[in-house]
């Protein structure tokens, strides 16, 4: 309402600006401004002469020329008249009608009278949960710009950037988190996925390095293994790729969400191998490595700890060796450097998966010994054991 009153006042002022001079009793109707200029020029000639800027002869010549112009201007000058009321009335009506009509017509087309001002200072009080996702992301950006060393911030930002498609930022966020907080499974996987998505699904050497780093943390992590297997086929190492997929499929148990994709990939790679060996055979319509991009679920950067590969499936000898190698390395690392409750849990779970119950038991004992001084870790470890269903 106030706004419309202001508009009305402004419109009235604009109309008055035109109407008042139209109806002023004495409009200026002078003329002869040119004559004044030339008269001034004549005076100037005299002054220049007096100061000696020009000589008498030049001054005389200048005077004659200016006088000639003055006479011409005098003859041309016609005093402006003030005509009668008709044109004035037309103009007045036009001003009263046209100005508001044009202003309101245009404003109603382009204006937003119902939108209030929203200076930022007034909006800071908005409750957090009333804010739009964009607002929250903007806050996150600002927070990280202010504190670029905030590990937690980067951990939060990475998956968010990834989901909204700011892939470069996501990769930077994961890399920053690794730089500041050390490698972890979600960080490495997130980094690898961000790099890979940026490269349109190609597992670049950098992405490969990230997935390999993830496997160093969790040697059997299926998602990382899948991407690495994909990388092998993308690089043309079909036989190695097929072996890797076979190992993965072998480790999978029915119901694992990734198993179907792994089987399809395996089929694709094997078909490609067959085709390479016998080019005459009908081509597989889908080339390996590109047809089954990781599904939305698989690419989700928030990595849930993968379900442990259970002993149901019988692993092929090759992959059996590989897995045992990884487990051995993990055990050696824990013996030497110690580790967290999760690490020991991983080792126990691996032994159970491999069916080496004795080794598992030994590992549990070693862990308990290691955690003797650390009640919190001990509790955490026992909780993991309960989950695994491993009796003490």
């Amino acid at each position: 309402m106030v706004l419309w009153i202001v508009f009305a006042v402004m419109t009235a002022a604009a109309a008055l600006i035109v109407i008042v001079p139209l109806n002023r009793a004495r409009a200026r109707a002078t003329s002869g401004e040119e004559i004044r200029v030339y008269a001034d020029q004549l005076d100037e000639v005299g002054r220049d002469r007096d100061r000696g800027v020009i000589g008498e002869r030049e001054a005389e010549a200048a005077r004659i020329e200016i006088a000639r112009r003055l006479i011409r201007a005098d003859q041309a000058a016609t005093p402006a008249a003030t005509l009668g009321g008709r044109s004035r009335n037309i103009a007045t009506v036009a001003a009263i009608v046209l100005i508001p009509a044009a202003a309101l017509g245009l404003y109603s087309k382009f204006g937003n009278p119902s939108l209030p001002d929203q200076p930022l200072a007034d909006r800071k009080v908005e409750a957090l949960d009333e804010r739009s996702p964009e607002a929250l992301i903007a806050m996150l950006d600002a927070q990280l710009a202010k504190n670029p060393d905030d590990v937690r911030g980067w951990d939060i930002a990475g998956p968010i950037y990834f989901r909204i498609g700011r892939l470069d930022d996501a990769a930077k966020a994961f890399a920053n988190a690794i730089r500041l907080g050390g490698p972890s499974l979600p960080r490495e996987i997130g980094l690898g996925q961000a790099l890979m998505t940026t490269a349109n699904g190609r597992v670049t050497p950098e992405a490969k390095a990230a997935f390999e780093a993830a496997l160093r943390i969790e040697p059997a992590f299926p998602l990382a293994r899948m991407y690495l297997a994909l990388a092998l086929s993308q690089d043309g190492h079909l036989a190695e790729s097929a072996a890797a997929w076979k190992a993965l499929v072998a480790d999978g148990k029915p119901g694992d969400p990734w198993l179907y994709a792994a089987k399809r990939q395996l089929a694709g790679v094997e078909a490609a191998i067959a085709q390479a060996a016998n080019p005459a055979s009908p081509a597989n319509p889908s080339s390996p490595g590109t047809d089954t991009k990781p599904t939305a679920d698989e690419t989700a950067p928030t990595v849930a700890p993968g379900p442990a590969p259970s002993g149901d499936a019988t692993p092929s000898p090759d992959s059996q060796n590989m897995i045992e190698g990884m487990v051995t390395r993990l055990a050696e690392r824990l013996d030497k450097d110690g580790g967290t409750a999760e690490d020991w849990g991983k080792l126990v779970r691996s032994y159970l998966v491999l069916g080496r119950k004795d080794a598992a038991k030994a590992a549990i004992e070693k862990a308990h010994a290691a955690f003797a001084q650390d009640q919190a870790a001990l509790t955490a470890f026992d909780a993991i054991l309960n989950e695994l269903g491993a009796a003490r």
Binding site: V2, I54, E65, L83, A91, L98, F110, P116, R123, S132
Partner: protein, 674 residues
């Protein structure tokens, strides 16, 4: 509410401009004083409403009102206050608003100070201003509305292009637009005079202050833009013959010709058609510049807008105003009364020469600027017309004009004595010749450089000699000379300063282009490099944080002969929001020369790319225009009338039989002014 008030004020300004387009012309045609009298108040009202509009937009930027699209796209809550304000015109919509605001400002000034104008001239001038303004208001409202809103409002903006986050943005565009748009007044005066059918010396007197003011601003604006590019782009270049630069340079060339031509018209009632044509051309080139920059037909740092709808609209404005005014010119100009006569060798003749050369120089730049566009339109292939074309063609051409500059002021009005002028200039010529030989002799091969420096000395010395003659320096007692200098009119000081300034600029340009030293290398902390007479040591790198950026600065100590002279800290700034880096150069000025250091990336081994330049006399490139603008100011403040006393016929005129109104005494080979 403030945002919408600003929006409504813009609409009202448009409505007033429409009224102002019609009523005053109607009054001038029918001789109705009251209708004509609406022009002044409408122009003032228009300015008032545009001022409200601009204030509202600036307010929205300052308080970060992200419900305004323009603020979202070009601002950020963390941006320093200065850049929140300057960011208002650092984008397409805002800069168009600045454009009409300055147009309205000039209209208001004419309305306010135009009391000495004939009513019909004033009415017509303001009506023509309103035509231009109406076209641009419509353009802004329909294609580039700075008050477009967004709801719900984003919480943060996209930030301003970091390159523009500089004090240069506070000065350069407003000055440039004051120049560009200021020439609209000369245009309006020309069109009004053509409508009225009356053009005389008085007209030139009324146009003079406006075109002079516009010229001063344009001169400063271009120089400022050049210096800004120089220190911010990090490559040490100060003029790139970029179309955007040319777009501002062409109106300057035409405007310079206009100034000279208008002097002849005011003093001698001659060169009327030249003056009218130049007034139309100057503003037409301003419009062309606006089109080139605002339509997005170019792709350069300056072209922020890339919307074809806008381009077509501005093109239509361009065609309408340039085509319309030239048609009017072709129709009315032949009917103009011819003015005073003069001999080819005379001050008038020299100024015709000047007009010709400046106009052709302008055409050279125009061709070089538009040729790639036309070529791309015709063939689809992109080509660039590079600096070699401009430097060679324009440079050679303008060198001829510069060589002639000292002669002009030495020639008398109406009929001059070239030999006499040459005689009086012997000192300047001797000095220039000595300098040229002194440079050329020890270093054979640098003839072009020597000639360039000689030319600059010639122009500067010529200006000084002319000044010395006027005050009878060394010919009269010093006291008399000083009192004569004190008594010299501002306009004369203006000419001397302006001509001296162009000489300074030439000196700077030739010196910088010929003797510029450049080193580009990777430096590690502790390393020392020598450039010019200076040893530059990289002491180390300093990371720093600003309000909206993080920067890596190099700390460099500058030594000369082992003694510490100064420190420089060039840096690279990273702006998080736009994820862009800018270069902050480190510049140390020694006399008129500069040591210029820009910092590049730092690699893994800790070595930083450093670009060092030694630029002898480089500051003269910008000090010259500064002196020129100062000259313009001296002339602008000179409230006296300008008269040009002609040299009478050689035979002394007897008292009794003085020249009657029978026309001027016939000079040898009289030449019609037009």
């Amino acid at each position: 509410m403030i945002v919408e008030i600003g929006h409504f004020a813009l609409v009202l300004a448009f409505a007033l401009a429409l009224v102002q387009s019609v009523l005053p012309v109607w009054g001038a045609r029918s001789g109705d004083a009251r209708l004509m009298a609406t022009a002044g108040p409408s122009a003032l009202g228009q300015f008032l409403f545009v001022a409200i509009t601009a204030a509202a937009l600036i307010h929205a930027h300052v308080v970060s009102d992200f419900s305004v699209v323009n603020v979202v796209e070009n601002s950020h809550s963390l941006k320093p206050l200065l850049y929140k304000i300057t960011g208002v015109w650092g984008n397409h919509e805002g800069s168009m608003l600045l454009w009409v605001a300055i147009l309205a400002l000039f209209g208001g000034l004419v309305a306010f100070f135009g009391g000495n104008l004939p009513a019909s001239l004033k009415a017509n001038v303001l009506a023509v201003q309103a035509w231009i303004a109406s076209a641009f208001y419509l353009f802004i409202l329909s294609t580039s509305n700075p008050f477009a809103r967004i709801s719900p409002a984003p919480i943060e903006g996209n930030d301003l292009n970091p390159v523009l986050q500089d004090i240069g943005l506070a000065i350069h565009p407003p000055l440039l637009y004051l120049g560009y748009v200021g020439f609209s007044i000369a245009f309006s005066f020309a069109v009004a005079a053509l409508l009225d059918g009356r053009i005389d010396a008085a007209w030139a007197r009324w146009v003079r202050p406006w075109s002079l003011a516009a010229w001063i601003c344009l001169t400063l604006g271009i120089a400022m833009g050049s210096y800004w590019a120089y220190y911010t782009l990090g490559w040490g270049g100060w003029w790139f013959w970029d179309p955007v630069e040319n777009a501002s340079f062409m109106p300057w060339l035409a405007g310079t010709a206009l100034l000279h031509s208008a002097i002849v018209m005011e003093k001698r009632d001659a060169l009327k058609i030249w003056t009218i044509l130049l007034a139309i051309l100057t503003f037409s080139l301003s419009l062309l510049g606006t089109f080139l920059v605002r339509s997005g037909v170019l792709t350069s740092v300056h072209a922020f807008a890339t919307d074809p709808a806008r381009g077509v609209f501005i093109l239509a404005i361009l065609v309408l105003f340039i085509g319309g005014s030239l048609t009017l010119f072709a129709w009315r100009a032949p009917g103009l009364k011819p003015g005073g006569l003069f001999a080819p060798i005379s001050r008038e003749g020299a100024l015709v020469f000047n007009n010709l050369f400046l106009t052709v120089g302008c055409a050279i730049v125009l061709v070089g600027t538009l040729y790639p566009l036309v070529y791309e339109m015709a063939t689809g292939a992109k080509i660039t017309v590079g600096p070699p074309y401009f430097n060679l063609v324009f440079g050679a051409f303008i060198a001829v004009l510069l060589a002639a500059v000292p002669f002009g002021p030495m020639l008398a009005w109406k009929r001059g004595d070239l030999l006499g002028a040459a005689e009086r200039l012997w000192f300047a010529f001797a000095l220039a010749a000595i300098v040229t030989i002194a440079i050329w002799w020890p270093s054979t091969g640098a003839l072009l450089t020597a000639l360039g420096i000689g030319l600059a000395v010639w122009v500067m010395a010529g200006a000084v000699v002319e000044w010395a003659m006027r005050i009878r320096l060394l010919r009269a007692p010093l006291g008399e000379s000083l009192s004569r200098a004190w008594g010299l009119p501002g306009a004369t000081w203006g000419m001397t300063l302006a001509h001296f300034g162009i000489g300074m600029a030439v000196l700077g340009i030739v010196s910088e282009s010929s003797w510029n030293e450049e080193r580009i290398l990777a430096m590690k902390p502790g390393e020392v490099v020598t450039i010019g007479d200076y040893q530059v040591a990289l002491d180390g790198m300093i990371p720093r944080k600003g309000e909206n950026y993080a920067e890596e600065a190099a700390h460099l100590s500058i030594r000369r002969g082992g003694a510490l002279v100064t420190y420089l800290e060039p840096s690279r700034r990273m702006f998080a929001t736009r994820r862009m880096a800018t270069s902050q150069t480190g510049i140390a000025t020694f006399g008129f020369s500069q040591l210029y250091i820009a910092l590049g990336e730092t690699d893994k081994t800790g070595a930083s790319a450093v670009r060092l330049y030694w630029k002898p006399l480089v500051t003269l490139i910008w000090l010259g225009p500064l002196i020129m603008a100062l000259g313009g100011l001296a002339s602008l403040l000179d409230r006296r009338r300008r008269i040009g006393a002609p040299v009478p016929a050689r035979k002394p005129v007897s008292k009794g039989g003085g020249p009657k109104d029978s026309g001027p005494p016939a000079p040898a080979a009289p030449m019609a002014a037009e």
